[in-house]
């Protein structure tokens, strides 16, 4: 009787085990397209077999195992953070890049080139009313270009502030959802796979926004850190905030303050956010824009350029004389209240007219077009007083434009690259998850060999392309 009961009990356990396996399979199929869902594997445990002791052997259902691999998940999240960073930088820099036309045809660089050309034409006919008027018109156009560029950078700052605020809000929402997922996981035994799927999807979304560190606890919950601080632990989440109103460090009045991200305790954690779209936005907002428009500690390339052009043109004109022998008048004015306001306030001096435009170098000897010639050559002058950090005015303007262009090109290239790396990490995860350890090891070895073969080919291409670059004849 005991044996019959034992056999019946064993078969009931086996039926229960297979029933549970079927449920797990059903769940896998239903959730196949759920973001973050990892296959569950039903495990079977052998029950002891000892007829003398009434133990009939057989199989019973064990705890459900997840094939979810935290290592691969972290690899995907790392690349998502880098991708988010590159995408945010690419979008913001593409917009700024439009201001700086590296061909020198439009924008500030174009207007600067045209001003030097009108100076040149004026030097050929210093008393001609048309060439004099052209100088005043082109100076007005250049000042307008500087003001437009300064205004555009100001608008870009405002837009980035809004995007940073929005990103912080999204991070806070996701942190709150992750805390909710944690709570659901901690309360279910074994952990609810749907809550785990939601958790993984929310962690991936969060990684796109910032470079978070995730550590999984024994109960299946995730602890999330941003920099040194906690964002989520268990069912508790902590909110971040964005601050744009701190007094800027340094001595430049009217300077725009850096964007600052604060943790729940009000501590500044801006420097700890280097990846994700928030990291990318902060890089452009706190590094690229200040390098152009200035901040509390630096004047910014646009203001440096505007001031150097205005100061040198004014110095040459005011030391020159008109054809009637009168002292020259400055061509430009700008607000000297703050070094960061020069580009935004640059304008044609209202006191100047064609008749007060001084072309003559008083000498001795007097050169009738001496000042005009000096102005025509100002853009390429290597005299110490005319240069900026050792570069001529046109070299400095070109380098500023090229610098923005290179940063934008790098961000665009990185966006493409990290998109591929996200796909690659996901593909590796898919290739290796859910197979036996032996099959997994074989696949790892096979893929490693293939990567090595492709790597050799890529090295040859790199070497060949370098050879070709060196073969281009130099002008």
């Amino acid at each position: 009787m005991g044996t019959l009961f034992g056999a019946l009990n064993s078969s009931l356990q086996a039926i229960d085990a297979f029933q549970k396996a079927l449920q797990v399979s059903q769940n896998n199929v239903s959730n196949a397209s759920t973001p973050g869902y990892a296959d569950q594997i039903a495990t079977f445990e052998a029950t002891p077999f000892d007829p003398n002791g009434g133990l009939t052997g057989g199989v019973r259902s064990g705890p459900t195992q997840s094939t979810d691999n935290y290592y691969a998940d972290q690899a995907v999240r790392n690349q998502l953070s880098a991708q988010g960073n590159a995408t945010a930088q690419n979008t913001a820099l593409s917009s700024i890049q439009s201001l700086f036309d590296t061909t020198g045809q439009t924008g500030v660089l174009g207007a600067l080139n045209q001003l030097f050309q009108t100076f040149s034409a004026w030097s050929s006919a210093p008393s001609n009313g048309s060439t004099q008027q052209a100088v005043l018109s082109q100076a007005t156009a250049l000042a307008q270009q500087f003001r437009s560029a300064a205004s555009f950078l100001g608008q870009t700052t405002t837009q980035l502030n809004q995007q940073i605020t929005s990103s912080v809000s999204q991070i806070n929402n996701l942190a709150s959802q992750i805390a909710t997922d944690n709570s659901a996981i901690a309360q279910s035994h074994p952990p609810d796979p749907n809550a785990q799927a939601s958790l993984e999807a929310n962690l991936e979304s969060l990684s796109k926004l910032a470079d978070v560190t995730v550590s999984h606890q024994a109960d299946g919950t995730a602890t999330v850190q941003l920099g040194q601080g906690l964002l989520v632990i268990g069912s508790q989440s902590y909110s971040l905030s964005a601050n744009f109103s701190n007094a800027p460090a340094g001595g430049n009045p009217n300077a725009i303050a850096d964007a600052q991200i604060q943790d729940a305790n009000g501590q500044d954690i801006t420097g700890q956010i280097t990846q994700g779209s928030l990291g990318g936005l902060l890089t452009v907002r706190n590094t690229v824009l200040p390098s152009l428009q200035g901040d509390g500690q630096q004047q910014g390339a646009l203001n440096i350029l505007a001031q150097q052009v205005a100061d040198r043109v004014n110095a040459i004109l005011t030391s020159a004389t008109t054809s009637s022998g009168a002292a020259g008048v400055a061509l430009f004015t700008y607000s000297a209240a703050s070094p960061v306001d020069v580009a935004a306030t640059l304008a044609l001096n209202p006191a100047i007219t064609t008749s007060t435009l001084a072309a003559s170098n008083p000498g001795p000897p007097v050169v009738a077009n001496g000042a005009a010639l000096q102005l025509a050559n100002l853009g390429n002058s290597t005299a110490a007083a005319d240069t900026i950090n050792g570069q001529t005015i046109l070299q400095y303007a070109g380098a500023t434009a090229t610098g923005v262009g290179q940063q934008a090109a790098t961000a665009q290239s990185n966006q493409t690259l990290y998109t591929q790396l996200v796909g690659q990490a996901q593909a590796v995860q898919t290739q290796l998850s859910g197979v036996s350890l032996d099959a997994e090891a074989v696949k790892v070895l096979e893929l490693q060999k293939s990567y090595a073969a492709v790597g050799k080919m890529v090295s040859v291409i790199d070497s060949l392309s370098t050879t070709l670059v060196n073969m281009i004849p130099t002008a």
């Binding site: 591929q420 796909g423 990490a425 350890l437 492709v454 080919m457 291409i461 392309s465 070709l468």
Partner: protein
């Protein structure tokens, strides 16, 4: 084929290779190797031509090809490191005397003779 046309073809093949590389399976990687061999042939063809006929505008194409190759290298390094980490986590049995990870890779099953 003109150097410019070869560059266009090489860039197109490199874009294909980038996509194949991100699929991370043996078949795709084999195809990726074949695609990259075509790029090598195209670049070899350009290098065999008289450099005095090269237009300065080719420089931008060569630099793009170089940048693409370096991006592919980053992808390969990333995939390779990912696999190493995975293998270390799942198949690691400790470290060698040199501090390198030691892996327990599958052994050939003994053959039983009838």
């Amino acid at each position: 084929m003109s150097p410019q046309a070869s560059c266009v073809a090489a860039e197109s093949r490199l874009a294909d290779a980038q996509l194949l590389l991100s699929q991370a399976n043996a078949e795709s990687l084999e195809k990726c190797s074949e695609t990259l061999r075509e790029v090598v042939d195209l670049l070899d063809g350009i290098a065999a031509q008289d450099a005095r006929d090269f237009s300065p505008s080719l420089l931008a194409s060569f630099l793009r090809i170089q940048a693409s190759a370096r991006n592919l290298k980053t992808q390969i390094d990333h995939g390779s490191m990912l696999l190493r980490g995975w293998a270390h986590l799942h198949h690691g049995t400790g470290y060698t005397a040199d501090g390198l990870p030691q892996l327990n890779t599958p052994q050939a099953a003994p053959i039983c003779e009838a």
